[in-house]
């Protein structure tokens, strides 16, 4: 059990800097998700915690101990990889026991730990199988089992669910949550999937181009995105960003698709020329562009709770002024309201 802290962490490959000073704290027992588009440096950050990448500048500490110069095995962490990285020639049991054997634990102790992990993960009947005889979800569980038996200070997950199909992913997400509740181990989880981030995280770190754009609880990030990037990345469809005037200056007005509601043409705050309608059953998504006034042509998405017949045409919508956000069009930073 331990907290993890990042202090001004940077990573460069030669002259190319890919992580530009990330500072963050992960509390003991917290589940923190690092989320961002591919190439934003989230995996690199995780690999620096694991010790698989060197830290170019700054400091990472685990449980109060600076680990910059420690070998991965001395950092008291366990990692779950996207492709599971199970040893193909070893049985499930040996895969889980391998790290413990190297550490020189007593046979009885190893056996007890592996059996316990197998029980938690319901792998009991697969212990003598090889990885290739298992399904994707089972392999993923073995990879987690390998992490659990080590009883580390922290778990590191590198996109662990990306190789699974959609249905299994939902199921494994729930299992991961249950597992974390049961073990309470500090966890750092990297994903590009905002749904995983929203559902799993106690707090999330939204990364973009090597910077932490925002750190906060999922709903807090959703409700008050710090930048236009976060506004666009978290939420699907993304927040509408409409060029507007406010207090005599240019701003970007941000409004989530579900905060736009249809109204009579006379009350319209925005008029949308419909390009595309996607009925999802529970909701209907309407995509279009603004017809008139300032910001004509800006793309807009609207989430309606009733179905609309029109495939094309016009839609008048209004929004609650308390639920909109303003951003600086140059820096993309949030403007306090």
């Amino acid at each position: 059990m331990a907290q993890i802290s990042f202090r001004g962490v940077r990573k460069s490959y030669g002259a190319l800097q890919v992580i530009h000073g990330v500072s963050a704290e992960v509390a003991d027992g917290e589940f923190v998700v690092i989320v961002g588009p591919s190439g934003c440096g989230k995996s690199t950050l995780l690999r620096m915690v694991a010790g698989l990448e060197t830290i170019s500048a700054g400091e990472i500490s685990i449980g109060g101990r600076v680990v910059n110069r420690l070998e991965p095995k001395d950092r008291d962490i366990a990692m779950v990889f996207q492709n599971y990285a199970l040893y193909p020639h070893m049985t499930v049991y040996d895969n889980m026991a391998y790290g413990l054997k190297i550490r020189g634990l007593a046979k009885a102790d190893i056996d007890a730990r592996v059996k316990r992990a197998a029980e938690i993960l319901e792998l009991g009947s697969f212990l003598e199988r090889r990885p290739r005889q298992l399904s994707g979800g089972q392999r993923q569980r073995v990879a987690m089992g390998r992490a659990i038996v080590r009883e580390p200070a922290a778990f590191l997950f590198d996109e662990p669910l990306s190789n699974l199909d959609a249905k299994l992913r939902v199921q494994m997400r729930a299992e991961l949550q249950a597992l974390h509740r049961r073990l309470g181990t500090t966890s750092l989880y990297v994903t590009h999937d905002q749904v995983e981030a929203m559902t799993l995280a106690h707090r999330m770190i939204v990364m973009n181009a090597g910077r932490a754009e925002q750190i906060g609880a999922p709903l807090e990030v959703y409700a008050t995105p710090a930048t236009t990037f976060v506004a666009g990345f978290i939420g699907s469809p993304p927040m509408n960003l409409i060029p507007a005037q406010r207090g005599g200056r240019e701003v970007l007005l941000g409004v989530r698709p579900e905060h736009l509601e249809p109204c009579a043409a006379g009350d319209a705050m925005l008029t949308v020329d419909i390009d595309l309608v996607e009925p999802l059953g529970s909701d209907t998504l309407v995509y279009g562009h603004l017809a008139a006034a300032s910001g004509a042509g800006a793309r807009v998405a609207v989430r309606l709770h009733e179905s609309v017949d029109a495939r094309t045409g016009r839609l008048s919508v209004r929004y609650d002024p308390a639920k909109v956000h303003y951003f600086d069009p140059q820096s993309g930073q949030r403007i306090a309201t």
Binding site: N83, A85, L86, Y87, Y98, G99
Partner: protein, 282 residues
């Protein structure tokens, strides 16, 4: 192709049978000749059915050898060939697997340079570098010795290249997972890489054993002592030039014997050999 055309099936079988006959007939002739007496062989035409001298011919070559050519017993030559082929095969595999491990998993200065140096030697077969190699081996006093027979043939660019390609297909995460599990490089090599390479090792063993067994030019150059002849050289030495009559029945018996071990290795290791060439277990 799965098709149901009887004539096509018949035709393809005929072609295959023809191919087998072309390959097998010379072998059959060799076998027949090895069971005849010298008088029968030199008759024209030579009989095409096995003769009665099987045990006689084979026991003579194994224990005494040909009386007119080189007189060494073939038993000793077979042993020499076996030692040579085994040492070359095992040596090549051991050295090249360690070399590829270094090249793929370690960052050191001039890494690529060294790899290309090894790779370039692929272009230089034994025959091209045979004179300088002979000079070196002879200056080191290794003529007529097992070391001289095997050592210069052990370095192998082909095997190094094959292992390198194989190691590069193993996902990096496996090495990383082992690192996090606390396995050092050698531990990773022994516990993970070696077991994963077992089928490749088996395939290479078959290829290199046959390569070592069939070496001709090199042993011909450096062995002058009959006790160091390999089976292949033995056959060559039995064929006397000039006036003396070559004892063809003994030559053919020796050839049959020399054929056996490589054939056995292929037959016994066939399953592994094919697995190593086609299977990717990752």
């Amino acid at each position: 192709m799965v098709e149901n055309r009887p004539w096509l099936t018949l035709l393809s079988h005929a072609v295959l049978l023809g191919g087998v006959a072309v390959v097998a007939f010379p072998l059959y002739i060799t076998f027949v000749a090895s069971t005849l007496s010298l008088d029968d062989i030199v008759k024209v035409p030579m009989p095409l059915l096995p003769g009665p001298h099987f045990w006689e011919n084979y026991s003579q070559v194994l224990t005494a050898g040909s009386q007119r050519g080189a007189a060494a017993p073939v038993g000793q030559m077979m042993l020499n060939s076996l030692i040579m082929a085994l040492v070359i095969a095992v040596g090549k595999i051991a050295i090249s697997i360690v070399a590829s491990f270094a090249i793929v998993y370690f960052r050191f200065p001039l890494r690529n340079f060294f790899f290309w140096m090894i790779f370039v030697t692929l272009m230089l077969p034994v025959e091209v570098r045979i004179i300088p190699t002979f000079k070196v081996v002879s200056d080191l006093g290794m003529l007529n010795s097992y070391v001289g027979l095997t050592l210069p043939l052990i370095a192998s660019a082909t095997a190094t290249f094959l292992f390198r390609q194989f190691f590069m297909t193993i996902p990096d995460e496996l090495a990383e997972a082992a690192r996090i599990d606390g396995a050092g490089p050698m531990r990773f090599f022994v516990d993970v890489l070696l077991p994963l390479s077992s089928t490749s090792i088996a395939a290479l063993f078959v290829i290199q054993f046959i390569y070592g067994w069939n070496q001709y030019l090199w042993p011909l150059l450096i062995t002058t002592d009959e006790s160091m002849y390999t089976a292949v050289i033995g056959i060559k030495r039995m064929i006397t030039g000039g006036d003396a009559l070559t004892e063809w029945h003994l030559v053919m018996a020796t050839a049959m014997l020399a054929l056996l071990p490589p054939a056995l290795v292929v037959v016994l290791m066939q399953k592994w050999f094919v697995k190593g060439l086609v299977e990717t277990e990752k």
